[in-house]
């Protein structure tokens, strides 16, 4: 029987072989590898495997339980859909980077210890940045560097936390953490990937500037591995729960202000991740199940949204709401699948978001957190409004200047499959419940009061949108976020480096150079000391008539360096010979 292998290895090895396949064979190869990952995942059984002993620690590459399997399944499914969507991208480097990124994300999910998690975590950061850089535009390059910088800083925090954890507990095992400095640093490290406020700025900065297909991959893995890691280590942490509530509202406020369609969706990632970690922070069975269910559903509709917006940008070359409109008739498949995604993310009955959002809000209510309950309900209103804005101004607003065709078949296929899964889970939520971490939870989302409540919220909020459409309409502006403060701080640091610190460096360098010149001069002629000293004393500096250079280079040297060099060299030579002979005699005597 063939033993299953850690899914990360399949993708990472598969990535290395991509350049060997060219032409029509490559798409088949890419799809084959992603299908193999799905098959391999279905063969994995609960327990730990692929343990490697390293420096006295056990590195676990395949820790399989319900939590890792639930996240692993959806990562593999979305990985397959994203690869299908990106088949028309011919750039080998981008495909290799995408495979390594998906592989390392699965590596994080199935790692059973902190060191393995950290290694895959960093591979994720360093491979995902290429999905931004391959757009080959200056703004993408800049955003990529900012993205990388933030993730390296987050990685350093994570490593610091891991080292503190290992030194205090002696264990690398990945599991729930107690309060302390180690857990603080690890939480910050996870917080960078999960886009905690105010560490979130890399997300809306970089994701809209990735390649069309790269952004689809980016939207899936980085934040969700962070959510997974929080579920593993910080389940039941009140700070995490409230951070989730704050992120849910903050994300939708900034999403409502955006003009760029991918930036709008990027802010919604922050908001939706807020829901997930609110459930995880509550920490009850229903909360964790709700958080993971929302992660699974969110991956489906968020990927679908990035696919639809990518399709619009790919076919029209425009990404601003102010430049779009009237695409419903020209791109019907994209329009319908985008509406499915919008209804799913808004939590409409019959779509997957309805189930998981209700699970999270119910878990928050049951744990008696009234503020968090209101925050999440307010975020639901904002989600509906911003997707009403996105779909209206992209597909239904009149715009006769725009002409576009439907996207290529593979893009349409991927979008239809993702939309189908959104509806499938929405109609049959039991398909989702089977794979959640806590099998015991049985949640009934389709109660009359819940369904009517959602309709009330949608219709009344929709009415406000219709009446105040002008106020919600997009504008040609950018909205400053916390990144403004980071940029200003780094400009300050850059000024400090270029100005005062550089000046200090030059002065120090000059002082050292002068001191070395004096030493060189003295080594040539120690008798010049009386002439040099006054030059460097306060009184003598004025009186000294000749410069250091003149003193050193004067033709009539009082000191003949060869006079001392030869006997000194001879003495050293004799000492080496003596030591050699002594060593030789010692060696020969000990040998016999």
């Amino acid at each position: 029987m063939i033993e299953p292998v850690p899914p990360a290895f399949l993708l990472i090895l598969g990535a290395l072989l991509i350049p060997l396949f060219r032409g029509r064979t490559r798409p088949f190869y890419l799809l084959l590898i992603s299908l193999l990952v799905l098959i391999n995942l279905s063969l994995l059984e609960a327990g730990t495997g692929w343990v490697i002993h390293f420096l006295g620690y056990d590195l676990i590459f395949a820790r399989v339980d319900r939590l890792s399997l639930a996240v692993g399944y959806i990562f593999a499914v979305i990985g397959f859909l994203a690869i299908l969507y990106s088949l028309q991208a011919k750039n080998t480097g981008e495909q290799v980077a995408a495979f390594l990124y998906v592989g390392s994300s699965l590596g994080v999910v199935f790692s059973g210890d902190f060191l393995t998690l950290f290694v895959f975590w960093e591979i994720m950061a360093f491979t995902s940045v290429f999905l931004i850089w391959y757009r080959r535009e200056k703004e993408s390059l800049d955003a990529g560097f900012r993205y990388l910088f933030m993730h390296i800083f987050g990685g350093c925090c994570l490593l610091t936390g891991i080292i503190l954890h290992v030194t205090s507990t002696g264990s690398l095992a990945l599991g729930p953490l107690e309060n302390g400095w180690s857990s603080f640093f690890i939480l910050i490290g996870f917080g960078f990937n999960t886009a905690f406020l105010p560490l979130h700025t890399w997300l809306p900065d970089a994701y809209p500037l990735g390649t069309i297909t790269g952004s689809v991959f980016l939207s899936v893995f980085t934040t969700k591995t962070g959510v997974y890691a929080l579920a593993r280590c910080f389940s039941g942490n009140e700070f995490v729960a409230f951070m989730g509530g704050a992120m849910a509202v903050y994300g939708i406020v900034f999403a409502l202000l955006q003009n760029d369609i991918r930036k709008l969706i990027s802010y919604h990632i922050i908001s939706q991740v807020g829901y997930m970690i609110a459930g995880i922070g509550v920490g009850t069975d229903l909360g964790v199940n709700g958080g993971i269910a929302h992660l699974i559903n969110n991956l489906l509709y968020k990927t679908l949204l990035f696919m639809c917006t990518g399709s619009v940008i790919y076919m029209t070359g425009r990404s601003k709401l102010t430049e779009l409109g009237g695409l419903a008739k020209q791109m019907p498949v994209t329009c319908i699948t985008c509406l499915v995604a919008c209804l799913s993310i808004s939590g409409a009955p019959g779509f997957n978001g309805f189930v998981s959002k209700a699970m999270v809000i119910s878990s928050v209510s049951e744990s008696h957190q009234p503020m968090l309950d209101l925050f999440l309900r307010l975020a639901s209103v904002g989600t509906f409004l911003s997707f009403a804005k996105l779909s209206y101004f992209t597909f239904f607003e009149k715009n006769e200047r725009i002409q576009a065709n439907e996207s290529p078949w593979n893009m349409q296929c991927a979008m239809i499959m993702a939309a189908f899964l959104c509806v499938l889970i929405g109609v049959f939520p039991s398909t989702l419940f089977h794979i959640l971490p806590y099998a015991s939870t049985n949640y009934h989302a389709y109660t009359p009061s819940h369904i009517v409540g959602v309709f009330q919220l949608f219709f009344v909020a929709g009415l406000v949108f219709m009446l105040a459409k002008k106020a919600f309409s997009p504008h040609r502006w950018i909205i400053l976020d916390f990144d403004y403060f980071y940029r200003m701080a780094f400009r300050g640091i850059a000024w400090l480096c270029r100005g005062p610190l550089n000046d200090f460096r030059l002065r120090t360098q000059a002082a050292f150079s002068r001191a070395i010149s004096v030493l060189v001069c003295l080594s040539k002629d120690p008798f010049a000391l009386p002439e040099i000293l006054p030059k460097y004393s306060q009184m003598g500096r004025r009186e000294a008539s000749s410069s250091l250079e003149a003193i050193c280079n004067k033709k009539e040297l009082k000191y003949d360096e060869n006079l001392y060099r030869k006997p000194m060299g001879l003495g050293v030579l004799l000492a080496i010979l003596f030591l050699f002979l002594y060593g030789l005699i010692y060696f020969l005597s000990s040998y016999h």
């Binding site: 406020v253 009359p448 009330q456 950018i478 909205i479």
Partner: protein, 69 residues
């Protein structure tokens, strides 16, 4: 077509309010969960509240597109 859709939307919005009274309440934890119109109020007040917030935030964070250039 657009006007018909608008009218339909308004009719549904009005109909959803008495439907709240008929649906009853399940899983209510806080007092507002037992209000039949709670979600309609959250929808309406929340939308207006968010509109005010985004106007306030935009008043000091909105800049020209080339601001960072």
């Amino acid at each position: 077509m657009k006007d018909k859709l608008k009218k339909l939307f308004i009719v549904f919005a009005i109909l959803s309010i008495p439907a709240g009274f008929l649906a009853g309440d399940n899983h209510g934890v806080f007092w507002w969960h037992h209000m039949p119109l709670m979600d309609a109020i959250v929808g309406g007040v929340g939308a207006v509240f968010l509109l005010l917030i985004i106007k306030f935030v935009a008043s000091f964070t909105s800049k020209k597109e080339d601001f960072y250039d």
